[in-house]
């Protein structure tokens, strides 16, 4: 069954056991994103710790793909330098636009490689990208970019 290539075990595992799913105190930036066609929602919060590394909070509701993607995102970018997080984000976005033909790099994407099958289902790409869009937007609001250090309000 084709649908099983979409729902790889790693995705199901993140969906059923989301990693680090909670909100943080006094985020420097926060973004709420919705997928208006299906009602998926995710909120991502960011701030920087004393070493200039990302602290991530998130919560949401929606389909297995959007919620597993949020969990993977949190796992991949929590504690990363903003520039490194940006590399992961860009690799993930690229993977989603690969129409399923990519050979994703586990070194960069970690569990994100499990989403390769999602790229074959155009309607689901938006679900997978939702938390990553929220991350980008939350960082922008916090003034955190790949090139600058950013400021932590906490």
């Amino acid at each position: 069954m084709d649908v099983e290539s979409l729902y790889q075990d790693i995705i199901l595992d993140h969906y059923k056991h989301p990693r680090g799913r909670s909100l943080i105190d006094e985020p420097s930036g926060e973004s709420h994103q919705v997928n208006p066609t299906c009602g998926d929602e995710v909120t991502v919060q960011v701030s920087l710790d004393d070493d200039g590394r990302l602290v991530i909070g998130y919560e949401g509701q929606g389909c297995s793909i959007s919620q597993a993607s949020a969990s993977v995102m949190s796992e991949m970018v929590s504690g990363a330098a903003p520039a490194d997080a940006d590399t992961v984000r860009q690799a993930f976005v690229e993977l989603m636009h690969s129409k399923g033909a990519a050979d994703p790099d586990e070194e960069v994407l970690g569990d994100g490689i499990a989403f390769v099958g999602v790229a074959k289902y155009p309607a689901r790409i938006k679900c997978a990208l939702l938390p990553w869009m929220a991350l980008q937007d939350a960082e922008a609001k916090a003034g955190i970019g790949p090139d600058q250090e950013g400021t932590s309000t906490s």
């Binding site: 299906c38 998926d40 929606g62 389909c63 793909i65």
Partner: protein, 425 residues
């Protein structure tokens, strides 16, 4: 189960139903509430028009222009006849959304013109203190335009609530629709819940307080015999693409006196009477509301669709879908963890059946159905406040039409079971 329509024969008229999807699976199309499929006769009619009579209508002095105009106006006559209307009381629009906006803009445009001293029919002039009444089960197409009218005029939006079993709460109808109410706009058959509403009663109440009454008949006219003048409404809007016709054409029926009192919506060519540099005067309806080059081929195609439906018999179409809906409700009710969003009983109910599966998001349910070739809709179905009313972010909806039979429902049920099994819920 013996169904009123001969589905095997009907399916042969729909080329798209012969294709397979997701590998070699036969297409099981259960998404007709979103848009219906088209029989060969509709496709042929459009093609024949382009091959033999294509020209600009209502302009030009040549034979083709005459034949094109004739095809367009004959289509209007047949479409009007299908809903028991007079030909000139049918306005062609792009879709139901445009029909409803045409009505909403009559109010905001009249209000704006009146503020500058223009002479307009006072029934369309709104002010703070006035109210507009809709229901909690409207498609966004019959909600957002009224929110906009309120924002532009200061009028207040009210709505008739929905009960847990998906019916309108009409006990306080007389206090909701009161002497501040200027327009009442309600859906005849809900696209998300399937509920068929007692629009006559609501329209009568609207008229009792001097309000105008509007009905969104997008989901009723394709599926049951509807005489628009018997709904008790002043204006009725619906789409062609949900009733076997092409995309790009919708209808607005209006009582002639009401249409005549309405200011135009989209303006430009074809809708004028005289034009000077300073000002213009407008044609009588329906032309006043049909600016620009019209959708002639679509009208011709839709006329072929109503011929097809008429041949099947709308009474039989209704009976067929009633039987199928009853079957779907029974089978879904038997499934563990499945909750129907909308009436559980088959009275005053159409063939759009929404449900949620405990522990599964509708998008994931839809994916498993798609994997078996079953096309359903998942999401909020452009009725987001209705989903919120039921505390669900989205639903899975199966919706039937003349080419469906019980085996289609059976495949869908198997898909739901497979999804539950896969996710271990």
């Amino acid at each position: 189960m013996l169904l009123p329509l001969d589905v095997d024969r009907i399916r042969k008229d729909f080329p798209i139903l012969q294709r397979t999807v997701r590998g070699e699976k036969p297409l099981v199309y259960l998404d007709s509430a979103a848009t219906s499929q088209k029989p060969t006769s509709v496709l042929d009619a459009e093609r024949a028009f382009y091959e033999t009579a294509n020209a600009g209508v209502h302009r030009g002095a040549h034979q083709l222009a005459e034949e094109a105009t004739d095809a367009y106006e004959s289509a209007r006559r047949r479409i009007a006849g299908f809903v028991g209307a007079e030909t000139d009381d049918i306005v062609f629009t792009k879709n139901a959304t445009e029909s409803l906006n045409l009505v909403a803009y009559a109010f905001s445009n009249a209000t704006a013109k009146a503020a500058h001293g223009a002479e307009v029919d006072p029934r369309f002039v709104l002010a703070p203190g006035d109210s507009i009444v809709v229901t909690q089960m409207e498609h966004h197409a019959n909600l957002v335009p009224w929110q906009e009218v309120c924002a532009k005029t200061g009028a207040t939006l009210r709505w008739i609530g929905v009960s847990d079993d998906g019916r309108l709460e009409l006990d306080d109808l007389d206090s909701l629709i009161d002497d501040t109410t200027r327009v009442v706009s309600v859906v005849h058959q809900s696209n998300i819940l399937g509920t068929v509403n007692p629009v006559r009663r609501i329209m009568d109440r609207a008229h009792a307080v001097g309000a105008l009454g509007v009905v969104d008949a997008c989901q009723s006219i394709p599926h049951a015999p509807v005489d628009v003048s018997a709904l008790g409404a002043d204006l009725v809007g619906w789409s062609g693409h949900k009733m076997l016709g092409p995309t790009g054409i919708g209808m607005l029926w209006g009582r002639p006196e009401v249409l005549a009192a309405m200011p135009p919506f989209i303006t430009g060519g074809s809708m004028i009477e005289t034009v000077f540099m300073e000002h213009s005067t407008y044609a009588a309806p329906p032309k006043r509301f049909e600016a620009g080059s019209p959708m002639v081929a679509q009208a011709v195609g839709l006329a072929a669709a109503v011929d097809y439906l008429t041949e099947l018999g709308m009474d039989r179409v209704e009976a067929h879908e009633h039987a199928l809906t009853g079957y779907a409700l029974e089978r879904l009710a038997d499934l563990r963890g499945v909750r129907i969003i909308g009436p559980m009983t088959n009275e005053d109910r159409g063939g759009a059946v929404s449900f949620v599966v405990e522990g599964l998001h509708p998008h994931d349910v839809g994916q498993f159905l798609d994997d078996r070739g079953v096309a359903v809709r998942v999401g909020h179905h452009c009725a987001w406040p209705t989903c919120r009313r039921f505390g669900v972010p989205a639903t899975t909806r199966l919706s039937t039409y003349v080419y469906n039979d019980t085996s289609d429902i059976d495949v869908a049920i198997e898909g739901i079971l497979a999804a539950q099994n896969f996710f271990g819920v």
